[in-house]
Amino acid sequence: MTAQNVFFGIIVIASLIFFSWSCYKRFNLVTLGKPENRFQNVWKRLMGVLVYVFAQKRVINKPFGFNHFFLFWSFMILLLANTEFLINGIFPNISFALLGKPLNHGLLFLFDIVSFIALICVLNAFIRRLFFTPSYLETPYVKAKSFDALLILSLIGILMLAYFGIHGAEIILTDINLHTYMPFSNITSKIFANFSIPTIENISQVSWWVHAIVLLTFLNYLPYSKHMHILAAIPNCYFRNLEKPNTQPREIFKKGMQYGVSKVQDFTWKDLLDGYACTECGRCQDACPAYNTDKPLNPRQVIHDMKINLLENGKYIKKQENPKVPLISNIGEGSISEDAIWSCTTCGACLDICPELIEHMPKIIKMRRFLVEMESKFPEELLNLFENIEQRSNPWGIAPADRVKWASYMNVEEFNADKNEYLFYVGCAGSFDSRNKQVTLAIAQLLNTSGISWGILGKEEKCCGDSLRRLGNEYVFDKIAQENVTLLKNKGVKKIITQCPHCYNTLKNDYKQFGLDVQVIHHSELINKLLDTKKINIKHPADNLGNMVYHDSCYLGRHNDIYEAPRNVIELSTGNKPIEMNRNKNNSFCCGAGGGRMWMEENLGVRMNITRVKEAVDKNPKTIGVACPYCLTMFEDGLKDLKLNNIYVKDIAEVVAETLRTDN
């Protein structure tokens, strides 16, 4: 061991200590969060790590993700090379050469290839950031061409070049035959070939030290940059939510408790870990309907602000002092504005696209809970909604007796478990909204045609409470859910048909927490089945509806994975597959009514429904097919605003009902 080895040893140990201390300091802040059980199902979690981290499943959903895929795997492989590099720098006798020639040569070959791949990937990333900057890389606080991003890319680039410097020199200085195993280092050795041996020895030394310093700098810079995701991604994917984010956790209502999140430490530890996992790739921002219609919400910014808030306030929270930067406020970086919180439609696009499985929307709902339950602070339109649902069991405050008015057009039975197989849970829109009542009638007609036995709750039916829950009014939702579950159990209901994806999701996923264990079927699934099994026979295709595009409702599609049933129904009843919009299925763009936004004014930015209607109109349809009462309303309103009165919006049940008409 030479003096240089000892010196290097000291640097390495100091670096590792500093790195560990930095990591400890950052990850320790995560423990300030509230407890949450994310430990069950170890195997499922490990499999998730394989799929999402090592196979980069979501990263490669976008073409440029492949660049990351190759960079990631180059790094994984070079982890071996760099470990050897550090050990070898301290103990010159320890190296891969001990493994014997064949294995050593194999490894040298692998390292040489992946170093080159990494270099190309870094170059790609540089070019993309500098010259082909996608808009979603930018936010007000984090720029696409940020020092942070460019520094890391430069460090990786230099690291690879230094690698080729070291090994190019090695080929000349130690063993000329090595060039067969190091094709890319061989190129540098060709460049060096004209230099004198002492010069090459100097180049080798300089390259070695550059490599060493850059490597250790990179390591120690990581915890302070967005590249923290390199460390946080694996735990974040391991501790991911194993359920789909289509429901929110229940709250326990006891005197003296706080509800929702008002300070960063009110989040759970997993929420806080999300902050470190974010790579700032901007994909959520690109998918978010609120952001894309100029609302003050950007899911990526929410995560960033939460992280900054934690870093700023961490030391005070540890000392049990009040945080200095407010979490909910519009003062700037590190705070999330109320307007941002109320802009979310809970469509789930951000969660669905995030390569790191970060959970943006649930955090927004937690903050809404605080605002509603602790502060009674919410957009004033919601006051009527909350009181109407609580007092009259429907969002409009219409007399509950009017709930069955639609049924006066036909003979509808009240549900009786001894006689009826299915309960048709009509929902508020289907019961009170004049346009959606037509959909209700179409469904009722189809159910009668199919010969299945069904009934309704009649005047006893109440709002399911979906909007309340997404708006953070968990207290009233909890009361309604308990009442509804008791009613459904007492009636002996086993199978429920819903026409509204929001009722569907609430009855199926939210009410599970309240002990409801029944089969919930959306009308699109049921009609699809009835068509398949010839319980409903198409008399003549509904070709009068012309070209039809289909719009995926968020709560049917992304939140519950029902994509094919409505499409099949359209194909079977019109004879043609529906035309797809550019953003479809799990990439669908919200109509603007989810998350309680149905009941709020849209005063900020451009209208979400108009944005989506324009997208549909681009496909030149005569009819827009939907499977959700909110979407139906939003599309019809959008078409009216655009004065496009020659395009129709039809629920898929109406499309099928059209095929049964006898008069054409």
Partner: protein, 270 residues
């Protein structure tokens, strides 16, 4: 110092129907709510509390289940509630009701001064708007009805200035305290109860004052003390229309028939 909000629990009248046979209100299954005007009275009392540090008491007269209205008042943030409930109070008209409420407020004022009483302008079930003025008269308080804004209160000099919303005009009046105000909906937006105060409301004991406590002459209260008699309740007659065409089978034909009909009655402007 107290500000007293007088409130009433009423059936949600949008859900009440009149039995066509017996001509009585069909109250079965109709939920009770706090009279909507009274929620504005509670809100205004709470705002005065925030400004002047009053103690807010909400009182109501009614059957034992009227405690629901008082719990709602607690959830909004009032400090104290009183339920005036006794069989002897039952069947009261506005006169007898105002006597009981007056006596209760007098009892309350032995604890602390009551410079202000706030009522809703009227209830949505009786619609008489008489109880508030009745209390003011009996207590000899200045009577400021239909208030849509409190312009100024000077507790020290016992002065109040309010704006009254009358038909087609406003009236700004000054009066001496103590006063009784009846308020209109435009005066404020009632606050939405926060969860902690809802939980408090659920658990609170509701004090009941009966006539053993108020000691009113039973001939002057309740049904016996009520000169008003309800002779008949009925829905105003409305001419029944007719169904023309078949909107389900032939919407176009039905629409045509409808338009012809409207044109023949000169109900369309063309």
């Amino acid at each position: 110092m107290y500000v007293v909000a007088c409130i009433k629990q009423v059936p949600d009248t949008t859900q009440v129907q009149i039995d066509p046979v017996t001509n009585t209100l069909k109250r079965e299954g109709v939920p009770f709510i706090v009279n909507p005007f009274d929620t504005h009275a509670i809100e205004e009392s709470l705002r005065l509390k925030d400004r002047f540090g009053f103690r807010v008491a909400a009182i109501t007269m009614g059957p034992p289940n009227a405690e629901y209205a008082l719990r709602k008042a607690i959830s909004m943030g009032v400090d104290e509630v009183i339920l005036l409930s006794d069989r002897a109070f039952g069947g009261a008209d506005t006169l007898a009701t105002s006597k009981v409420l007056t006596e209760a407020i007098l009892k309350l004022s032995t604890k602390d001064e009551v410079p202000l009483i706030i009522c809703g302008r009227q209830t949505i079930d009786g619609d008489t708007a008489q109880v508030g003025p009745g209390i003011a008269t009996r207590l000899n308080y200045s009577q400021l009805t239909l208030v849509d804004r409190i312009e100024h209160i000077d507790i020290e000099n016992r002065k109040i200035i309010v704006r009254r919303k009358l038909e087609g005009r406003y009236e700004i009046v000054e009066s001496i305290l103590p006063s009784l105000l009846t308020v209109v909906r435009e005066i404020n937006k009632p606050r939405y109860p926060k969860v902690p105060s809802r939980l408090l409301a659920d658990e609170s004991e509701i004090p009941i004052w009966d006539n053993k406590f108020l000691k009113l002459d039973e001939q002057t209260i309740g049904l016996k003390g009520s000169p008003t008699r309800v002779v008949k309740i009925f829905s105003p007659e409305r001419e029944k229309g007719e169904i023309i065409g078949d909107g389900l089978k032939d919407p176009e034909g039905a629409a045509k028939l409808l338009i012809e009909k409207l044109l023949s009655k000169e109900l369309l402007p063309f």
